[in-house]
Subunit: 230 residues, 2 copies
DNA sequence: GACTCAATTATGTCTATACATAAAGTTATT
DNA sequence: AATAACTTTATGTATAGACATAATTGAGTC
């Protein structure tokens, strides 16, 4: 026999695609499959677990394993580090700090992050350039107690985007994409007409202890696309 | 002792967050960690493998395991089934077929999917409604040999979106998001002014054998957002 | 029928052991 | 020096066996 878990993974996926194992029906249990494939139960387990993580199967103790009704495929997006995104296109990366201040955060934003009134917050606006052309405009609020050292960081050398990834790894957060018309400021900085449809990304990240780290709004230059792999 | 792989997973993540294990440095090997935690190497392996899959660690045979320099966090998007997205908001789902024809596919699109000239293709335009209000406008091209039975499917009952998920599960594809101004047709159907910034999703899916299944362009009503979890 | 409690069962996980494999390091050969 | 061949090493994977755990099933009771 000599089966590897990847062989079993492949064969199981084939049966799902060919509807030999139909959606919403139970498949044989691990012990039976192990016997059929001539391998140990652990090997079958490894293969089926991978399929469950990918959304093809649903598994529950005692209840058994069934093919997902509508396979909840998950698209994956590698979180964009702007420098890498630009350099991957073979373009030259650069950034320009437009403003940096310890200003007061508007209440609605503060509430969204669950920050108290007196939480020390710094705001940084940055323009990112690809081959000298505007690529994205970033408006970032950083909660200073979650990112010690940020206040004195030399952001002209290391962009805020990179500084934070390297110094304040976060554990979870959300990413929202929407479309928005360019305001006067965005139009001026990105070099487009006011009202142009721009892809807008809003991202909030939290550190280990559920305390907010940053809130970022990024407007991309016109015609930008985000690609997710399925 | 009595460690489970989840305990080790948690402890390793703590060391990464606390920089006890610094970015871009090697961590002890599995055998040593197994001894430290008082468990078997397989258990350590399970924990470290999970961390590697999540992007925190990079592992290579013989070279060992190192903490990722810039943890490539991956955001996950549960692929949107429009009905579920609308009903999850507590709104009533409905759809209206606007047009359906076996028209010829423009060459640029056909080339993008790698389809031959005479490949049988059907085009369906659908408007999706939430509580009677326009929610999204879908323009879909379906490669008929990849979706047998689609031609005769009663799309008034089951929306194209759902029909295809249930009858032609795909194995991989891409998802592109961008911002686009509403054209006259989109404006009319979605009930907004021409030129309004709309979030636009373009999705191509492929079946098991690399042959294209569908190409979908969806314009969402104004102010729509897509949320990804990190 | 409605409820409680125990028996059953499929998945989840841990262990010890073994061998496979990739890649780095070392030595021998040209 | 460059190259080839061997050794070493850390991860990758397979196995049999055991026990843990969640959830269904069914028996017994009210």
């Amino acid at each position: 026999m000599a089966q590897s878990w990847q062989d079993i993974h492949k064969e199981a996926l084939r049966r799902i695609h060919s509807r030999e194992w139909a959606p919403d029906t139970l498949i044989p249990n691990e012990a039976d499959l192990a016997e059929e494939f001539g391998c140990s139960r652990a090997t079958v387990n490894r293969a089926l677990r991978a399929l469950a993580e990918a959304g093809w199967l649903e598994r529950r103790r005692k209840a058994g394993t069934r093919v997902a009704r509508a396979p909840q495929r998950r698209a994956q997006l590698a979180i964009p580090l702007l420098r890498e995104e630009i350099e991957a296109r073979g373009q030259r990366f650069a950034h320009r700090i437009l403003s940096r201040s310890r200003s007061k955060m508007p209440s609605p934003l503060r509430a969204a992050l669950g920050l108290s009134d007196d939480a020390p917050v710094e705001r940084v606006q940055t323009l990112y350039l690809a081959d000298g052309h505007p690529f994205a405009l970033e408006d970032r609020w950083v909660h200073l107690s979650a990112a010690p050292g940020f206040e004195t960081a030399e952001l002209e050398k290391t962009s805020p985007n990179e500084w934070l990834v390297q110094h304040a790894p976060f554990s979870h957060g959300t990413l929202d994409y929407s479309a928005a018309p360019a305001g006067d400021f965005e139009a001026e900085q990105l070099g487009c007409a006011p009202g142009t449809a721009l892809l807008c990304m809003q991202r909030s990240t939290f550190g280990p202890g559920d305390h907010a780290a940053t809130l970022v709004t990024t407007h991309f230059a016109p015609n930008h696309r985000v690609r997710l792999e399925i």
